[in-house]
């Protein structure tokens, strides 16, 4: 990334993060109390904490130009939350694209003055890469919810089926008996 854009992003980092954070919170139901923004205790407001921390990590990664995978843990934290909040997939993931809008608006004047449209395009392509990566995480979270449903059912019933002699487990050592010679 061109240094000019990098410097600008660094310079405006805190205001970009605030606006990005606000745009994410705008996807939640209108709430006059402003709880998700105001409560700073990480245990009393885990959503606010996760997002604040997460977007800071993601933006940091984008600015420093590190691989998308490096931002994975921050993305993961945010998406895990978004994946269980009744959002449609597009809405759950929209927060990533919102960064483009925030950056374009915040750096409007500078972009024009410094002729850094190309760098900006490069930066935005990286956001797109991030979005693709994020989609994988989202799909994994949703798959996990389905798996957990099945898992709970098994947890509830497996020991019962065993007791009723409807299923049985073959002990590992028996299974590994070498003297059985199958011709397959």
């Amino acid at each position: 990334m061109n240094n000019t854009l990098k410097d600008l992003l660094e310079e405006k980092r805190s205001v970009i993060l605030t606006k990005w954070f606000d745009s994410i919170l705008d996807t939640y139901p209108a709430d006059d109390s402003g709880f998700l923004k105001k409560q700073k205790d990480r245990f009393l407001n885990p959503i606010g904490h996760t997002f604040t921390n997460g977007i800071d990590g993601v933006l940091g990664g984008l600015i420093s130009g590190q691989d998308v995978e490096e931002s994975a843990s921050f993305l993961n934290d945010i998406i895990k939350v978004r994946a269980v909040q009744s959002f449609s997939p597009s809405k759950a993931m929209g927060f990533i694209f919102a960064l483009k809008k925030v950056v374009r608006e915040e750096l409007k004047k500078e972009i024009r003055q410094n002729q850094i449209n190309e760098e900006l395009l490069g930066f935005e392509s990286k956001i797109d890469d991030l979005a693709l990566f994020a989609f994988d995480i989202y799909a994994k979270c949703r798959d996990q919810l389905s798996e957990q449903k099945t898992e709970e059912l098994k947890r509830m019933t497996f020991s019962l089926l065993k007791k009723a002699n409807l299923v049985s487990e073959i002990p590992a050592q028996e299974f590994e008996r070498k003297d059985l010679d199958f011709n397959i």
Partner: protein, 539 residues
Amino acid sequence: MAPKVKLPKPGELSIIDYSLPATDWMDTPVEFKPNTFCWGAKGKDLETLGLPNARDWNPSEEDWKLPENWEQTVLDGIAERLSKYRSFKIFMDICVRCGACADKCHFYISTGDPKNMPVLRAELLRSVYKRYFTKSGKLFGRLAGGRELTVDVLKEWWSYFFQCTECRRCSVYCPYGIDQAEITIIGRELLNLLGLNINWISGPAAACYKKGNHLGIEPHALTGIIDSMCDDIEDITGIRVNPTFNRKGAEILFVTPSGDFMGEPGIYTCMGYLMLFHELGLDYTWSTYASEGGNFGFFTSNDTAKRLNYKIYAEAKRLGVKYIIGGECGHMWRVLNQYMDTWNGPADFLEVPKSPITGTVFENAKSTKMIHISEFVADLIKHNKLKLDPSRNDHLKVTFHDSCNPSRGMGMFDEPRHIIKAVCNNFYEMPENTIREQTFCCGSGSGLNASENMEQRMRGGFPRANAVRYVQQKHGVNMLANICAVDRAALPALMNYWNPGVEVAGVTELLANALVMKGEKERTLDIRLNDLPGKGGNE
């Protein structure tokens, strides 16, 4: 000439409004999205329980098959409860909207949905109360905060009263002492007048009514299950445990939630009880009839709860025991501690519980005659009556989740911690504002631990999981201990989603791991039949 159409400029087109259309809460109907609500009660179960409007129905369908004149039924129901429960009337009138409760609910914290603020959840019902039962509401309607009872309002009640887990965290902060759980309880009662329960509650309640426990385990199956646990105990310890069932003349009756009979990791806690009682040589018996400590009737209606609870004292009387010990459970203890005595007591045929090992008299249970396994065990440990080898739990880094009901419902904070510290060498508390009376709910309490609402459960449990994550990252915690059967059923999924690597165990399971039994063989296996690290196992 055709009118000139004003086309938006490219700049205008790129402006996208991401904000939601704001409507007043009274005008925002509830939406039923898959994964976020429980299935409706089945007709056959409602019939078994003798509850009205028994039929199969589906919450996501438009038609809820409500009975004729249902509005009157609900209004009559409110009137009856206002006259019967003074607390309900006070809770409807006294709230000053100070907002102290607003940000205390785990569902609000994890969704930002204002209707999950306890104050607004109560307002869903209160607005109807105002419209029909107060002068100002009758005269000024909406201006005075009142609203008509409509199908949409009813659906909203159903959605939010089956989102509240009756954990009572909000009540801890209410300056007026309004118990929001009681408002939910009454809300659910009113819904039950129209046959609007959820399947995960009415199914177990019906099974309990017919067979004595939520899982519908019949007497021969229960003895079989416990017998096979005894086989496993013999494999682990070399000792044959021989529990008795329905034995008349035993000193103590032991009652535990049926979740401990089936499913992992509940069964390991049950094996712990068996080992402990055997080691103590306790004169106790199991009952295959009073085979459920939990009470899903409590999430249905006062009458249903009372009926399901009746069997505990009745069985104690039939067997002629002196007192009752209860296993690790959550809501079971709110019921036993705060309701059983007035519903089905006084149990004057029983004696005040006195530990036969230490002689301690449990004055706190003077009236109910039923004590919690953790207070019984903590007393044993305090008097040095158990031989323990905590190093058997050295591979575990343990934190403790205060279950809502034993902590807020009966003030049990220190006993389980006393036990854990005696049986484990590595114990780490979660942050102060997430434990003890401020504990966060597992997100699945009050009958909401069904699987179909998995998404709802995962978000409801997020504040809890978030605190566990902190100790997982800071101290390497890998075991979440608790004293609740619903926790043991619900938390494994929660940990799997938010904090992979953290397992879930009942406190008595940890105790059983550490318990050195007379004549036992050298242990190489833990209670889960896994190799004990550093004890001759493979790991």
